[in-house]
Subunit: 109 residues, 2 copies
């Protein structure tokens, strides 16, 4: 999708994944597939797994192993209390950014 997207995803991808997990528990492969459907066509598989490891280490999610019928066991992640707070903080930061950018976008016409 272009280099701009790659850089823009830094910081927001984490929020996106946490937002997904806030709706329902999910595992890496599933999240990757969903993101691709949503148009994030070039999100690398490895990226999501690495991100999930990070949020786990930050204690923002709980994990449980669930056997799969079609492959190795899934690692199903769910957002915990701390993760919810972190996600709310993410939305605040995001809102701040969008407000400034919207102003700039309007002003630039």
């Amino acid at each position: 999708m272009g280099k701009q997207m790659t850089e823009m995803l830094k910081g927001t991808l984490e929020g996106i994944v946490l937002a997904i997990l806030s709706m329902r528990p999910a595992y890496g492969y599933e999240i990757t597939a969903w993101l691709r459907e949503q148009g994030f066509s070039d999100i690398a598989e490895g990226t999501i797994y690495a991100l999930l490891v990070r949020v786990e280490q930050k204690r923002l999610v709980d994990v449980r192993k669930v056997p799969s019928e079609k492959g190795p066991p899934r690692k199903v992640y769910s957002l915990n209390k701390q993760g919810q707070e972190y996600l709310e903080e993410f939305w605040r930061t995001w809102s701040f950014l969008t407000e400034r950018l919207e102003q700039l976008h309007e002003g630039g016409k």
Copy 2:
């Protein structure tokens, strides 16, 4: 403002600066000051200068030295044709992201 902002600025800060330059030519010190006024309280000075060097090397801006009454000469940057196209591409990428995130934000309530 927090670590989330730092990561989120990666990729967007460049667009922000280019958007500013699309309205009027400006120099580094001025841009830094303006950003701080807008609430980007902890944007480091060095960050902006490094960013300006990068966009100059990418040929997105034109530069001219202008003597200052109060210090060393200013390097005034202005967006050129290529920079405008790049900025439009930035807005397209940004719009894509905001749409997805807005959906997620709504869905998460």
